[in-house]
Structures are given as C-alpha cells and as structure tokens.
C-alpha cells in the first residue's frame, strides 16, 4: 500500500482512479480466517491410510477426529480400492495427466476417484490457468457445450418471465432458471417459465430456485423440470447453518431421482468465509470438500464457480484462478459442471470478460449457470456477469474465436413473434386455470419491452391469491399441458408433454443431460466428451458454424451496401 496521496495528483492517476475497475473491492489475504483463494499455509497435507477396507486417516486427520464432511467423503466419495495407488502419484504427475491430450478423460477419472481433498488441491496448485483450460476442455462431461439463462422479473411479473424464457430458448439456452422477489409468487412464475420455454424452441428445461422443500414440491408436481438450488458447504458448522447435512442432502438427491427429476447441487468458493466459519482453510480446499460431497451423494452434477459469493474470491489474489480450478475439479471427478459466470462481480467490462473466458474457451457443460436473459435491474439473483445487453458481444466473441458459447443471433421479427406467442399462450393457460387474467395490453407491452419497467402493473394481491390456489388445488404439469391445448397451442402442449414424458424414462438423470429441440436426450452417456488433442473433440462446424457467423450487422463482401444479416 502506498502512503497518503500527494497534494497534487497526476492527470493519469485521476484517469485511472475513475476507471470502473476501481469501483471493485480488493482485499489482502488473511489465511487465518480463510481469506485466501487456494494457497494457504493452514490447508492440510494430503495423506490416506486404509485399514480393513475403510479409510482410517485422511489428509492428516485420524478417523476418530473426522468431522461429518471428512467421514462422508472418506466413506462415500473416495474409492477405497483406488486411493492408495492414486495418492502415491506426485501432484505434478497427476496434473500432467490432466493436461496431456493423449491421456483420455477416462484414465484421469480412474485416478481422481482415489484422491483426497488435499491431494486434489495440490494437483491444481501446480497448474496455471492455461493448463487448467486445457484440462477442462478434455474433462468436461458432455461433448457439446450448453448454456443456462436466468429469467426473472423485479416485479415477479409472470408475463415478462414467459416472454424472456421464449426468447432465451430461441437464442440457444437449454436450461432456464427463475427465482422470486416475493416467494409466494413462485407457482405463477414457475408456470410462466415453463410455458415460455415451449413457445419457440422447445425442450429447454426449467427450474425455480427456492428453499429446498418448496423447490422439490414444484418439481414433484411437474411444474418445473429440474432443480439446482441444493446448496452444500465445506465446513460442518456452515453446513449446519444452512440447515442441512451431507446425509439430508443425499436423501434429497434420491428424492428427486425417485420422481425422475434432474438435479444438481450448488456450492462455491467463498461461501464459508462469507458465512463466517472457514476454519482457517483456503476457499478452494473447502470447495473441493463440497465437490466430493456431491460425488459421494451420487448427484450427477454441480453448479460451482463461486456463484453468489463471487465477490469474495474476486477480491483476493488468484481468486479467479481458484474459481476456474473449482470448475476443473468438478469435471475431473466426473460431475456435470454448470460453471458459474452468473452473479455479477465487477464494474469493469474488461474484467468480467476475463472472468468469462476460462469457461467459454474450453467449453463447459453450462458455461453460465445463469446468463441473465433480462436487464440487470430485473435479475433477482442479484445481477449476472452477463446480461441481456451483452447478447451481441457474446455472439461476436463466439464468431471471432470460432468458439461455441451455445448462443446464436436471432433476427428481431423472430424474437418478437416468440415473445408475443409466449405471452398469448400464458394468457390462455391462466384463463384455463382460472388464474388472474392477462390483458392484450400486457401482451403488446411485453413483446416490445426490455424489462419490467416498461410493463403495465399487475394486481399483485390477485396474483398472490392465484398463486396460492395453484398449490391448494393441486395443479400439476398435466393441467398446464391441457391448458395449452385448450388455448389453441397444441404444439406447445405436445412439447411440454414430451418434456414430462422424459420423467418416465429417467434418461435425464444421467450426467450433464439436456434435451435437444427435438426432445432427444444428450448426456455424457451418449455424447461423451472425446477430446484427445488437435483435430479431435467438439468443434463448431457445418450448420452450427454457419449459424454462428450470423450477427446483427454483417455486410456483403461483394456489395458493402448490402447487409446479409
């Protein structure tokens, strides 16, 4: 730190001082309280000892002293038959396996299933961000990258949520997530998201982020299609503060699967510091414990990459490197990774792009685990690193680098048609279900609106009564299907029924599953990442690359006066 500012300041300092990046918060490291990204003198040293088929010592701690995370990880996450062999390898050697394209993903998984949390930490500590990106390119579960959007409204306006969901699916998102300002609005907004998701390009899966038990109930009724807000934490005390344990969360995971519903856990660096008890460990060490709890619970995937705590790793040295490392480790232990790039963390456009590239360039299962499909003020997840104003930038970056960020440019006429159709379908479904009416004026407004400020106000009291009645009357996804058909949208009814039908097969329960617009399941089972170096793996080509070449303004090379769209 420099001393006090001189009386006369240079013009250059003034200019730098006023740059957006200086509105961001930065702090020095304080390892004793866990304010350190991934390199703390207080993190344990890797070790393992197996006796009689049971791990009796892990990372320097005897079994009698295990906290509940240690015990859960030792008994459920680590393969006892593989651990001693894997732990005998040098961390640098394991990092080489990760980076070397000639070593297959499967070979890495055979090693990683035996590694303890401290060992995984030592491995990524030897890697710089480019090496981590190389490794992530190979280790992500699904061959084809995808993306997830937030579709929320500052006024919990269901009409807006439906229109933005339709536009989001049209632009390429395969998962759409909403949440609420007023939680009691949830049933109406979840219905709106589901209806909007079918309006233009079908098959995007939807979720409504709520308290665990409520989220499960909406899922069981078939109003939502997957769940993600199932938080796990890296210390015992914070886990308990979150009112859960690895065992309650494991039971919850099986509950979702028992209803054929896709789900993933959520965790991220910084949550334990933010919740006040990091036990003096680094953020990444604690996050690795969360990743292994997820695997131990038998959950197919994890949303991580700091998520709602991104301000914490974002403020310390190497914090964004640690965020990449947590995505990499989730992939390295075989989980689907919805890799963050959601909650906003910086005022600097340059910095938020730099934070995005490590996931966008190698590709992940969901590059954003929520890209805000609405303006910042409408984002009820406290803003996102990317939002609806960034669509064109995203599409240009994809085209510049020929990297598939899973989105595409769509012409305005098509977008207007999709938004209007979603709102009209929701109007019909609400009428069918005897819910508060949606007026033609609202439909007209939402078709052309950017955000909730441009929409007519709804009667919130009536909406909340309607929301309650959805729960009281036991309305299910099938009632929405019937409503869509009755309202004159048989194709949307058909595609939503198609989404619900997938519960019967359980295909979507597998790692990194999404539905294609043709309602076919694509997961790590039938679309396994096969990257093996230059010339292999997923590369945007053919029709997809032609789609990516389109932007808002592209001129004809032969006739610069002509826009080719």
């Amino acid at each position: 730190m420099s001393g006090s500012a001189p009386a006369r300041r240079s013009r250059r300092t003034e200019i730098l001082e006023n740059r957006p990046v200086n509105l961001d918060g930065f702090v020095e490291e304080w390892p004793e309280v866990g304010m350190v990204a991934m390199d703390s003198p207080y993190d344990p040293t890797p070790s393992v000892r197996v006796e009689g088929g049971v791990i009796v010592e892990m990372d320097g701690r005897e079994r009698a002293d295990f906290d509940f995370l240690d015990q859960f990880i030792a008994d459920h996450a680590i393969d006892v038959t593989a651990t001693e062999k894997a732990m005998a390898l040098d961390p640098v050697e394991i990092a080489h396996l990760l980076v070397d394209p000639k070593v297959s993903r499967r070979e890495v998984l055979d090693v990683s299933r035996g590694l303890t949390p401290a060992a995984l930490l030592e491995v990524v500590k030897t890697m710089n961000v480019v090496e981590m990106m190389m490794a992530l390119q190979k280790m992500r579960a699904r061959r084809t990258p995808a993306n997830q959007a937030h579709s929320t409204s500052a006024r919990d306006n269901p009409v807006q949520v439906a229109a933005d969901a339709a536009e989001g699916a049209l632009r390429g998102f395969r998962e759409l997530e909403t949440t609420l300002g007023v939680v009691r609005y949830a049933p109406l907004v979840a219905i709106a998201l589901q209806v909007g998701a079918q309006a233009a390009v079908p098959g995007a899966l939807t979720q409504c982020a709520l308290e665990e038990a409520t989220e499960l109930e909406l899922g069981m009724r078939g109003i939502t299609a997957y769940a993600e807000t199932i938080s796990v934490y890296g210390t015992e005390s914070v886990f308990c503060d979150g009112d859960d344990t690895p065992w309650s969360k494991t039971f919850l995971a099986s509950a979702y699967a028992s209803r054929g519903i896709k789900m993933r856990f959520t965790s991220g660096t910084g949550s334990e510091v933010q919740m006040g008890n990091a036990e003096g460990r680094s953020m990444l060490y604690l996050e690795i414990r969360c990743i292994l709890v997820t695997r131990g619970a038998g959950v197919q995937g994890l949303q991580n990459g700091s998520i709602s705590c991104i301000g914490v790793p974002g403020a310390v040295p190497a914090g964004i490197r640690a965020v990449l490392a947590e995505n990499l480790i989730a992939s390295t232990v075989g989980l689907e990774c919805a890799s963050g790039n959601d909650q906003s963390f910086s005022h600097s456009d340059m910095r938020r792009t730099a934070r995005l590239l490590p996931q966008l360039l190698p590709g992940t299962d969901f590059i954003c685990s929520g890209y805000s499909a609405v303006p910042n003020y409408d984002n009820m997840f406290a803003g996102s690193n990317l939002d609806s104003e960034d669509y064109d930038d995203w599409n240009v970056i994809q085209r510049d680098l020929q990297v598939d960020g899973a989105l595409r440019h769509v012409g305005e006429a098509e977008i207007l048609a999709a938004r209007s159709r979603a709102a009209r379908a929701l109007q019909g479904v609400f009428a069918h279900l005897d819910l508060p009416p949606i007026t033609d004026r609202e439909i007209e407004a939402v078709t052309y609106a950017h955000g909730s400020k441009e929409l007519p106000l709804r009667d919130v009291l009536e909406d909340l009564k309607g929301a309650q009645s959805v729960m009281d009357r036991g309305i299910t996804g099938l009632d929405i299907v019937r409503g869509l058909d009755a309202a004159g949208f048989p194709d949307m009814a058909e595609s939503f029924l198609g989404v619900l039908r997938h519960r019967v097969s359980g295909d979507l329960l597998h790692t990194a599953a999404i539905l294609t617009p043709e309602l076919e399941t694509l997961s790590a089972v039938n679309d396994a990442n096969d990257y093996a170096g230059p010339g292999s793996g997923y590369r945007p080509t053919g029709a997809r690359w032609e789609q990516m070449k389109r932007l808002r303004h592209v001129v004809s090379a032969r006739n610069p006066e002509e826009e080719v769209g």
Binding site: G222, T245, S248, F251, G260, G334, G477, G506, H510
Partner: protein, 154 residues
C-alpha cells in the same frame, strides 16, 4: 398423492435382469422403449395428447418406476459412476413413498431436527413398510454421525 401399487410391477421388476449396453441402449426412451412402463403399467408411447385429453392419463403416468431406476443404475454403473448408480437404487426404493412422507423424512434428517430414536424409527419403517434397505442404511448412518458430532435434537 400416494403411489398406487399395481400388478404389472412384478412383471417389470423381472425385466430388470436385462443386460444393458450404454452405447446401444441409452437413451432408453429412444432405444429401449420396450423396457419402460409407467407405474400404472402403461407403455411410454401411450402417454399421448389424445390419451391425456381423453382423461386416461393422470399424474401417476408421468412418474418413474423402481424398475426403470434400476435399469438406469445399471447404465450408471457401466459408465463408471457407482455413486450415481447407488443414488438411483435409493431412489427406486423411494418411489413407493408419498410426496409428503419424502418431505417429512428429509426435514427429519436436517441437523438438530430429530433424536436418535426418531431417526431409528424412520429407518425401521423404511425397511419394514417399503423394503427400502439402502435408504434405511443411510438414515442409520446419519444417526450415528449426528450422535458423534452432537447434532441430534435436544
């Protein structure tokens, strides 16, 4: 809602003996619809708009059966994901519990929510009433850990 046991389950359970090849048989909806039934015994391709509008399809027709979950467990096992397979097997056991019972057990497993006796009672009932041995094992394990770490109720 309460899950309705029907005779056809016995027949479907017998079919779990099928030896699946993940590369050939997955996704089951596309490649092995012959193996898939709803809890009411309906084939997956019988879940159609016309059946729904004729009032023939109810919420229990868009639910997964224990037999299907065990088929998916087989696939998870074969692609090298034993924990995922185990989750599917626990899920298979939970299909016969009502939504309400599932939520109650979940809430009982939260920290400081239950005594050892309450957890043991849940485990016993899971095993006795639903044949849910894997879930019972999970609950008993929780009771042990919660006691050791001091997070039982009281």
């Amino acid at each position: 809602m309460t899950y309705v046991e029907v005779d056809v389950d016995a027949k479907i359970d017998a079919e779990v003996d099928v030896d699946l090849d993940p590369r050939r048989d997955y996704p089951l909806a596309a490649h092995r619809p012959d193996l898939l039934r709803t809890p009411t015994g309906r084939r997956i391709d019988e879940i159609t708009m016309s059946a729904l509008l004729a009032g023939e399809i109810g919420p229990e027709d868009i639910r997964i059966t224990p037999a299907t979950l065990r088929l998916q467990a087989q696939i998870a096992e074969k692609v090298g994901l034993p924990q995922l397979a185990q989750n599917f097997r626990r899920a298979a056991e939970l299909t016969s519990l009502s939504d309400e019972d599932v939520l109650t057990i979940y809430n009982t497993l939260r920290p400081r929510a239950a005594t050892r006796e309450q957890l043991t009672d849940i485990a016993d009932r899971l095993e006795r009433d639903h044949g849910a041995t894997l879930c019972a094992e999970l609950v008993r394990e929780a009771a042990d850990v919660y006691e050791r770490r001091g997070i039982l109720a009281g």
